[in-house]
């Protein structure tokens, strides 16, 4: 995986890209052992209905376009697509909508929608004093309104991951507050270690990454699935924490 991650990130930087596109980002996650939705990338013009035939509905459609980092902000996402015909129609509609905004799509990303669960946010940043740091929070108001997030310096250990989660003011939500089912805490811990652990994405990508953001990670009773991921690359000169 080291090879893959370094290669992917380095190549992207060499091409002057500021951020990985979503399929590439998800591939990085997948190769790090993190669940991502089953998906297909369909080139513009290819047969959408045929391409999505192996996916299980409902599907999400997301535009893949250079320079578009926040897809929902430009209306580049459609959800709850129920079959192949609807998929083709959604792609066609989206193309028109994107054109109207002057966006030229590179491709379509079709994904199986994750089962219901708690929304978790996992992030990574590069601290000027401590280098790679990992962050976790609960989606929605917890992160956005209450700034309810926990940080650790990488690499983290399993105990750190558990403590990050128990530090959250909204921790009770994960344990099944308000009558909902408790979610799979171990699955979140596993993702945190794969992102921020000894052999995790942040430690391996320190010299190339500026920021990563898995938002949301949907966590059900059974599993955690990274539904969206942003990888922002460094602009400044490379540093190496292993020096």
């Amino acid at each position: 995986m080291t090879q893959t991650l370094s290669e992917v990130l380095h190549k992207a930087r060499a091409m002057g890209v500021e951020a990985l596109d979503e399929p590439s980002g998800k591939n990085v996650l997948k190769s790090a052992g993190i669940n991502v939705p089953n998906s297909v990338v369909v080139k513009i013009g290819d047969d959408v209905a045929a391409a999505v035939s192996d996916l299980r509905a409902p599907l999400a459609l997301k535009v893949v376009a250079t320079g578009v980092v926040h897809k929902s902000d430009v209306g580049g996402v459609k959800l709850n697509i129920q079959d192949a015909a609807a998929a083709a129609e959604a792609a066609s509609d989206l193309r028109t909508a994107m054109k109207a905004k002057g966006i030229e799509p590179d491709a379509w990303l079709f994904e199986e929608m994750a089962p219901r669960g708690a929304e978790v946010v996992v992030g990574g940043t590069m601290d000027p004093e401590f280098g790679p740091m990992i962050m976790v929070g609960l989606g929605g108001i917890f992160v956005e309104v209450l700034k309810d997030i926990a940080f650790r310096i990488c690499p983290i250990r399993e105990r750190d991951a558990y403590e990050m989660l128990s530090e959250l003011k909204g921790a009770a939500v994960l344990k099944g507050a308000r009558g909902s089912e408790p979610v799979n805490i171990e699955a979140i811990v596993d993702v945190l270690l794969r992102v921020g652990g000894d052999d995790g994405i942040l430690m391996r990508g320190t010299s190339e990454l500026a920021e990563i953001d898995i938002n949301p990670l949907i966590v059900s009773k059974h599993a955690a699935v990274a539904v969206d991921a942003r990888f922002i690359l460094r602009k400044e000169k490379v540093i190496d924490v292993h020096a």
């Binding site: 940043t125 601290d127 000027p128 004093e129 401590f130 280098g131 740091m133 940080f151 650790r152 310096i153 983290i156 105990r159 750190d160 558990y162 403590e163 128990s166 530090e167 924490v241």
Partner: protein, 478 residues
């Protein structure tokens, strides 16, 4: 070379050079020489002066390079611009050069000069401490940079980024009963940073606890790795300056601090079992707690309060509740035993135990020992906090009640150690007579390893500091 050997010349210098003493006025260098002499420093002091043959009655040399033989430690207090030259032209004789001068990276335009200082040091194989600092304190070696420091060595090793706070830590600390194995002010930390000194204190047998005042670090990864590897085997207490945005701005003009994130330092502490404090007093209280106590194998949680004063007991219980401790009711059999002591009306033997001073003087104040023993035997407490209102106690002049209580603490601790922490709170009214007595009793208690605090809220914070280290070591998830 081991870390211990590497830093021996700094903490136990046999030969000290002083650059910046004057023949005509009393400069920092002169004061340093006088302090060293007064403090009983037994090694060789070598003033460096371009012209003088003698300074402060000592044979002077023209430059460091002229000095015959090695120099363990050079005290450099010259104009900033000349400091790199002093180091560069030292003939590689100096192991540690501490540069006091300010005017480096902490001021606009001073970064290049600091880089040159470090380059000079690397060229000649000298380690530079500072610049923009005040000196090093090592009582066992009779090395000091401030007057009125106690020569009595102790078990606390300190790395302090601010010189002025270094003096405060030494002096306010020693008056509270803290004793140090060493304290180094590192200022801008251009070459020698906190992490290497921490490594030294971790190795040093005399050091049991490490205290840090830091405003920023240029070696965050190393600091993280050193503390992580240490695994809290010695308690570490951090006073972090510039944790708020406005404080960070102030720190930038003080030691040229980097604008790091506040969450980074919090994370560092959580991941290494380091105690994070916000004020000098909290820092000293946390050091007091760790100096005085053997840590328990599991986290301290159940606290018993015992002392005189109902309102104080109530507010003290509030403080311990806020600090996350349980001040729980006793089991019936313990309560029965305490009631059997026959304390007078107005006493309450529930937890908090509130016994009027009048009752405490019974049997020369030995009733306190019975109470503490009963609690210890019950196993109901992880910590007992004994609080005494000095004002009230001093009304009873014919009995050395407080002396008896301290003796009782020591005896009980010997019998039941290390199952239960016992700390003392000496509450004073600030009157000069009361303060004098308090000073005396505090000295008696702390020199016997009993932690003493000024108020119950401070004791709660001290025990909370202990709990952080105990929790971390126990491996329990917070």
């Amino acid at each position: 070379m081991s870390t211990l050997e590497e830093f021996r010349p700094l903490f136990h210098p046999a030969r000290i050079a002083v650059v910046g003493a004057s023949t005509t006025s009393v400069s920092g260098g002169n004061r340093f020489i006088r302090n060293l002499k007064n403090f009983g420093y037994a090694g060789t002091i070598i003033p460096i002066h371009p012209k003088a043959e003698e300074i402060e009655g000592l044979r002077a040399y023209q430059s460091l390079a002229d000095v015959p033989g090695q120099i363990d430690y050079a005290y450099v207090a010259v104009a900033a611009a000349t400091a790199p030259g002093v180091v560069r032209n030292s003939g590689g004789k100096v192991r540690f050069a501490q540069v006091m001068s300010s005017g480096f990276s902490e001021i606009v335009g001073g970064t290049d000069l600091e880089a040159d200082l470090v380059a000079a040091a690397r060229e000649v194989g000298t380690r530079v401490i500072g610049p923009n600092c005040l000196g090093t304190y090592s009582p066992a070696a009779r090395l000091t940079f401030t007057e009125k420091a106690t020569p009595e060595p102790g078990s606390i090793g300190v790395v302090c980024q601010s010189g002025g706070l270094g003096i405060d830590i030494i002096r306010r600390g020693q008056n509270r009963g803290l004793r140090y194995s060493g304290l180094v002010t590192i200022g801008n930390a251009s070459d020698l940073g906190a992490s290497e000194l921490i490594e030294y204190f971790l190795e040093d047998d005399k050091t049991r606890t490490i205290g840090l005042y830091l405003e920023s670090t240029r070696e965050g990864r190393r600091l993280f790795e050193v503390l992580r590897r240490a695994n809290a085997r010695k308690p570490v207490v951090l006073l972090k300056g510039g944790r708020t945005s406005q404080g960070q701005r102030a720190a930038a003009s003080h030691t040229g601090a980097l604008a790091g994130s506040h969450s980074g330092w919090e994370a560092l502490c959580r991941q290494t079992g380091t105690v994070l404090t916000d004020t000098l007093d909290d820092f000293l209280d946390a050091l007091m707690a760790t100096q005085g106590m053997d840590l328990r194998p599991s986290a301290t949680s159940r606290v018993v309060l015992f002392g005189n004063g109902g309102g104080t007991s109530v507010l003290g219980t509030d403080a311990f509740d806020r600090a996350g401790f349980s001040v729980g009711a006793f089991a019936d059999d313990t309560l029965t035993k305490l009631e059997a002591l026959g304390l007078p009306a107005g006493s309450s033997v529930a937890n908090p135990i509130d016994v009027p001073a009048g009752a405490l003087q019974q049997d020369e104040g030995r009733v306190a020992e019975k109470i503490i023993s009963t609690i210890a035997a019950s196993g109901a407490a992880d910590a007992v906090v004994i609080h005494v209102n000095m004002t009230v106690i001093m009304g009873f002049r014919h009995v050395d009640m407080l002396g008896n209580i301290i003796q009782a603490v020591l005896r009980v601790r010997q019998e039941h150690s290390p199952g239960m922490h016992i700390v003392l709170v000496l509450r004073s009214d600030g009157d000069s007579e009361t303060e004098e007595r308090k000073r005396e009793y505090r000295q008696r208690a702390t020199s016997n390893g009993v932690a003493v605090f000024d108020e119950l809220a401070q004791a709660a914070r001290g025990l909370a500091a202990i709990r952080i280290v105990e929790t971390y070591r126990s491996g329990a998830t917070v």
